[in-house]
Amino acid sequence: ATEIAELPGFYVRIIPTASSLFDLSKLNLSTRNNVRAYTKDGINQPTPRYNNSILEDMFLEENAEYTGSTFANWKTLQEALVLLKVWARQRTSIYSHDCLNGYLISAILVFLTLDSGGSIINRSMTTRQIFRVAINFFATSKMWSKGLVIQPMKKRTISKEGIAHLLKTFDVAICDVSGHVNLAFRMTKSAFSELQDEAACTLNCLDKCRDGGFEELFMTKVDFGAKFDSCLRINLKGNSKVTALSFCSDDESWRVLEKDVQSLLQQGLTDRTKMIRVLWRSTPSEWNIMDGFSEFGSSPLIVGVMLSLLEKSYSLVDIGPNPENRDEAIKFRKFWGEKAELRRFKDGAIAESTVWETETWERHTIIKRIADYVLSKHLLLRQEDLTHVVDQLDFCLLVGGQDPVSSSGALLEAFDTLAKQLRLLDDVPLKISTVQPLDSAFRHTSVFPPEPHPLAYEKSSQRLPNFAATCVRSLEVMIQLEGSGNWPLDPVAMEKTKSAFLLRIGESLEDRGMFVTASEDEVNVLTSGYSFLLKIFHERGLVVQKQAGDSNIQSAPSEDKELFFRSQHSSMINGLHGIYQAYGPVVRLAKRWISAHLFSSFISEEAVELVAAYLFLRPFPFHAPSSRVTGFLRFLRLLSSFDWTFSPMIVDINNDFNLKDEKEINENFMLSRRSYEQNPHDIEPAMFLATSYDKSSEAWTKQSPSKSVLKRIASYAKSSAELLTNLIIHGQSGQYTWECLYRTPLSNYDAVILLHKEKLCRPHHVLFPAEIPNGKLVIQGKPSNDFHPYMPLSKSVVRSLHDTRDKLLVNFDPTAYFLRDLKCAFPVTFKLWHDSIGGDAIGLTWESSKKRGRDEDDEAMLDPTSILKEVGDVGKGLVRSVHLLKAPKLE
């Protein structure tokens, strides 16, 4: 007994039975009333659920015995039951009081072995076969509508009328061995349709997933937060509707309320949703019988919502009935109250309707507004009792209270204008044949797409603001020239020729009134409010690289190869954005998270986009996410749980991989993992991302992240995912707020460099100014006077536009320069962690001295304080202070 007491989670449940206490005829399901107070117009109503709950207790032993005898001596069936239970328990929304439980699963399995269940399960089947058959039965069987009877055909005691009565009274009917009890009397229609959906999804997994879907079916938690597109939490404790409910009815009062909420939301959200699931776990998990009912219903009611097509769920207007249809119109008015208004539509129709006016970037919140309105109107809820998880993370994507994505239209327009002008240029030796966007802002996946800059227009006719940003982010654009045989073959000369071409193009654009600023490496064109950085892609460059690559394999990818990857990637992701509208926001949240935790220098933007794309293309065991919070949660979970060491991540956007491609990818992957046996810590690339344009994962993750960095990212992701799950289901508590997801603890670094926030290129993108870390302050510095991120614009600007423009710094980022100089000065001493989007802290971790070569011993001999003083000196004018938290380990 002591041993058992030490096992956590081991319970002994005592279930009382009452085999022969009551008279069966008095418990007839469809006619008898046994709750006297339950009346309608003074007449007692039948109480089928109440009767059934008593019958259940009476026949429990008989049923248990029968089930037990079927399972005895049938090992595969037992194993299949275990599998099914694991499967169901991973899915919180179907393993609940109104859907499946372990007992019900075993009863259904028994049914499938009988002739009345078609004997679909027989003794020659393997465990996996039984599992599949059972899932298939959940998903597709027509038998559910006829009612299941767990009695062999010959011994059937329940009449056809009896079954018909059961089906009429209950949503789902599973008649037990005795023929008196409906085992599934608690199951509701909505729960059952979710079960069917879940099972259908599982069948899909079985066919499509690696390793027969093992991970997806049995290892992945399908909980509310990750499954549904948005979750709504309603605190009903002390609500007048609840206290008014009577205990003296057929069903439990909490179930009645579940149904009310369900139908209210269904009516309010109409075809905006695919599925609404309402669950109120009213029984506390640890309940002392002495407490009575007071604790019941104190935990909040949870609603999960699955959105339908986003065009539908984001629509601004709900059209109701025509006012001439009086009854309907009155009903509509009654439901919507003051929100209903009579409207005349473009096609001339007049109808009652509700309008949810919102900015484009806020349209995802319409669902929330409707649900909040309907529930608070009809359930008399206070605002603080309703928490709808929809826009809680938006804070990290806003600039000045607005999502900069709203200016994307102007950006694309500007690009089109430029592309057209480029193609029409006739004073350049070779014509420009194609113009392609490369920057993530063009594909809606940039955290902060640049907003139009007042000085980047051809003419400054628009009213100028008082201030403008000094730094302009330039957006890369790739152009291709028409073919020519006169290109030099030598790689260096080729690059120079490209620069020459770009300068020529720049000159002729300048003649057309645009502002061009160029260095030898980049030519920037400022037009229509934006800055574009032009790059030339030369196909021959790919071939030249190949030849050079033979002799010296470790060479960095050539400019052209990189451009090729980026253009392919860009068009691929753009296509994906067209299919899944939630993709953009999910990637933006993911990117912001990556950089907020200072991983910017280790994982490329494109890699994040691909990982997020995988969520949408292979969402199993879920459906592709339709909301940003759910997508982001799944991103974090994927990042933390994906088995990078043993599996390649195959991102197949257009479904164009066949068996042969997959084999090729797998072979490439195996090749990259060959060194694993010798040295499990050093595998390259640690993150294997295969796409149709890059089957050997060379494009984005070849150099970085390393295995150790990836491990760090994964553990951050795990911690964030847990916090996010908690926030969705239980809400904020104490210090654990939504902001914590994006606030990184600086104590995880060996040293921290704080920067002057007002000397960053875009101070308004900083989410949280860094707190001063613990540890020893080594050096501090004053801000530079030479750089200001904003410049004043006066009236004279209009006259001397060109001079003012010369003050602009295009693609200038002090932090990037600082990091470059640091890497130059200390190539192997430490790793640098930074936030490329907007962070005023840089983390620093010492590299173990083993990694450093012998010749670096001199550098290693320096004490950390003097190294860090040097670090501060390299960034003078930008560095605010340097703090030492941990000295490097000495050998």
């Binding site: 911690s719 501090q780 030479d786």
Partner: protein, 217 residues
């Protein structure tokens, strides 16, 4: 904001110095949490122990150890052109002398580059000639239209045009499943593919077993 922080830290230090106790401001709770944290790290190894939900308040409480009184300042922030912000802005400006200058630079480079290549080529030829070989010069004039070795016509049609034409031609081959041997081969190759996939899967299952990560709840 910056100043506020520094002043705050300095004030606290003054208090600390006066009372002669370094560890004053830290309430019991914060200490306790700190202890827990270190414990966690020990349990789960270096990386897994990262506790992300460190509250900000806690950080504030521990600022007290910072000693600002005798901290070095970064020297000559606005004078030194060799490092830091001043250097970066200078560098930015220097790299942008204007389109004309850049164009000239490139022209100069390309001319020099071509000259050098020419020179190298001549040197090579000269070296070859010294060894007693005659360098055969490239023919100008009529283009060769037949390949010397095979005698087939080449060059008269551009390669690209030819490929296009070839692509347009309908393949005359019979359907993939026309001959029995084709079918058989297709079957065989599919079988081989399946077999190799099976082998791979077997390997993978071994790997998964080795990991032993099956813990459903």
């Amino acid at each position: 904001i910056v100043d506020v922080h520094i002043i705050y830290a300095a004030d606290v230090n003054q208090v600390a110095a006066e009372s002669g106790v370094m560890d004053i401001g830290e309430p019991e709770k914060a200490k306790k949490r700190k202890k827990n944290k270190t414990k966690k790290v020990k349990q789960s190894g270096e990386v897994n122990g990262i506790d992300m939900q460190v509250s900000v308040r806690e950080d504030n409480l521990e600022v007290h150890e910072v000693d600002t009184a005798n901290v070095d300042e970064i020297a000559s922030v606005d004078e030194d052109c060799s490092r830091g912000m001043k250097k970066w802005i200078l560098e930015y400006r220097q790299k942008r002398p204007g389109l004309k200058v850049l164009q000239q630079n490139i022209d100069v480079f390309i001319t020099a580059h071509e000259e050098q290549q020419e020179r190298e080529k001549k040197e090579r030829e000269a070296a070859a000639a010294e060894d007693g070989w005659t360098v055969v010069m490239h023919h100008k004039g009529r283009k060769k239209t037949t390949d010397a070795e095979t005698g087939t016509a080449v060059g008269s049609v551009s390669l690209a045009a030819m490929q296009e034409k070839m692509a347009q031609k309908k393949p005359k081959e019979v359907g993939r499943n026309f001959y029995r041997h084709q079918k058989r081969e297709a079957q065989m190759s599919e079988l081989a593919m399946l077999q190799s996939k099976f082998e791979q899967d077997k390997k993978r299952i071994q790997q998964l077993r080795a990991q032993r990560k099956f813990k459903p709840y």
